[in-house]
Amino acid sequence: MKKKYSRSVSLRNLSTHYCSGCGHGILHRLVAQAIDELGLREKTIGVAPVGCAVIAYDYWDFDVSEASHGRALAVATGIKRCLPDRIVFSYQGDGDLASIGLAETVHAANRGESLTCIFVNNACYGMTGGQMAPTTIIGQKTTTTPQGRNPRAGDGWPLALSEMLKDLRGVSFLVRGSVATPARVSQTYQYIKKAFSNQVQNKGFSLVEVLSSCPTIWQKSPVESAKWIQEEMVKEFPLGVIKDQ
């Protein structure tokens, strides 16, 4: 019988520390799979975020650096400029990328750094116990928006980072996928693969936003979480290609 599916070489044979139903496990796998399929493992350098995925380097089997909160794309810039033929990517959450690291994100994109950025949007700060993220949707309850996010009460509106980056001339590829259904996972995989192959072709800055689940913080089951992405999150953050050039 032909083996059609197996563990990616770039993914270590370990159980992760992630909660059941969390999107990180799937996304680690998709990143590893794309790197393997493109034959990039031995020239890849990843930059891990601060947050639940802070120890992503324990799961991936290639060179990885940590970065302080929000600065992954600055670190990635330093790496890529020194080793321009290596494949450098950052893997960051919504708080990391769209709040504390907003300046680094916008400017790395605006410089057109030849980088791949995986943006995991789960609409909350997971690691710290579920505070409001820039991407928390209106009405969503968090520890810092106990009544639900209310833009008029000073909480601000959900920040659509990918759309914000669209007009920057250094950006070549912007897409939004999700991990809510097998079909969406498979589409997200294609996005991630393209974002890496763009870097191989030196096309400029590529960012793949992925709507991901955080059942523990959302206080939903994994199935309910997937449903919530499909029914609620996508209204605020529509899936699909935002920019491709």
Binding site: K43, E66, S68, A74, V75, T77, G78, C82, P84, I87
Partner: protein, 397 residues
């Protein structure tokens, strides 16, 4: 000009940089005689000649000549120059560059250095070499752009969060500023640690003739072809960076991390770092002294203030008052051995600073038996030679 793409047939940082760096075709002629430099430009040129592969900075007075000089020279040399979006970004770009094994540097002035502190703490935590230049201005807050030595505590006591130290060197001339930048790169590589060059605005801004050479004779100095501590000459001693992130071809993956959650792991790491600080403390004390023979009154000052103190020593000596000057070059580790020696016969020690009194604490710690006096001004005030003389004469009488 972007760097040429690399062929991926290498496995370590050494050979990566060997293939990146081509002989320089259009570089400025290396000055073989003294030429007129500002301190900021001299430090920049010294960095280039020390093999700095990567520079990222953000504008702030009084170090703007440095970033402008790097913008020109790094591009000439086909190395990396980035004007970062902030000091935070700059120090973290340096983190990334250093992680690949490159010689990386950033520069700023006091408020900007405060912003870089988190990054410096990370560099110390993961043990990455990097050079950070602080051309100090007045504070706290936005302060002013006049000369100041008020960042002494920040520089010598770690500066950011966590238990760590960074070697700190403080030049008193344009020539020495250049030499200490070169030394800073070597110390950084040698100990895998960020190193601070603490200059004050006067040192950064003033112009003096200086001879900035590619290398002194010792092995640890930089030779023209040397890149990230690597010489093209096979016979030269080579400093490998097997920990660098270059892609894991032919080896196990490298991880750069300071997060150590496992019970006892961070404690163990901290102990390892402590041994490093102790080693540096023992080995890297640097100082200079002037007319300390038979000195009953010892002045202690660093940076631009030490030049004024030197003048004061001459005036005092001309008035038959046996004074001398102790000038620390390394501020951390503090050269207490040298200080104890210089202060052996001293009845009084007078510390002079462009601050409200920071280095004076280290002097008091090193000389618990001595009477240690202090004269200092902050916010752009500079204790003048006659003031120092008057102050000391009064205390003697």
């Amino acid at each position: 000009m972007p760097r040429q793409a690399l062929k991926l047939n290498v496995t370590d940082a050494d050979s990566v940089f060997r293939s990146v760096r081509k002989p320089v075709l259009r570089s400025m002629k290396v000055p073989s005689k003294k030429i007129l430099f500002s301190g900021n430009e001299a430090m920049a040129e010294a960095a280039v000649l020390a093999g700095c592969d990567f520079y990222a900075g953000y504008p702030i007075t009084p170090q703007n000549e440095l970033i402008a000089y790097m913008a020109k020279r790094m591009r000439q040399e086909q190395r990396v120059f980035i004007q970062a979006e902030s000091e935070l970004a700059a120090i973290n770009m340096v983190f990334g560059a250093a992680a690949t094994g490159a010689r990386a540097m950033t520069s700023s002035s006091s408020p900007g250095i405060s912003l870089k502190q988190e990054g410096i703490s990370y560099l110390a935590g993961v043990e990455l070499p990097a050079v950070i230049i602080n051309v100090m201005r007045g504070g706290p807050g936005l302060g002013n752009i006049a000369s100041s030595q008020a960042d002494y505590f920040q520089a010598t006591c770690g500066g950011g969060h966590g238990d760590y130290f960074t070697p700190v060197v403080a030049p008193w001339s344009v020539q020495e500023a250049a030499e200490l930048v070169s030394l800073a790169f070597d110390l950084a590589d040698k100990y895998r640690n960020p190193v601070l060059v603490l200059a004050d605005a006067i040192i950064g801004q003033m112009m003096e003739p200086a001879e900035i050479t590619k290398a002194k004779s010792q092995e640890e100095k930089v030779n023209p072809d040397r890149i990230i501590g690597i010489s093209l000459d096979k016979n030269a001693k080579v400093l490998k960076k097997p920990w660098a992130l270059t892609g894991c071809l032919g080896r196990k993956p490298n991880i750069i991390r300071s997060l150590l959650l496992k019970e006892g792991a961070l404690q163990k790491h901290n102990e390892k770092l402590r041994k490093k600080w102790e080693l540096i403390s023992e080995r890297e004390q640097r100082f200079d002294s002037y007319r300390t023979e038979g000195a009953r009154y010892l002045l202690a000052a660093y940076g631009s203030q030490s030049r004024i103190a030197k003048q004061a020593v001459d005036i005092l000596r001309s008035r038959k008052i046996p004074a001398g000057l102790f000038r620390p070059i390394s501020l951390w580790p503090y050269p207490e051995k040298g200080l104890k020696m210089a202060a052996k016969k001293a009845e009084k020690v007078l510390v002079v600073e462009q601050s409200l009194g920071q280095m004076v604490r280290d002097v008091r710690l090193a000389l618990p038996e001595k009477e240690v006096l202090f004269l200092g001004k902050a916010g752009g005030g500079i204790p003048q030679a006659e003031e120092i003389v008057k102050f000391l004469t009064k205390k003697i009488a």
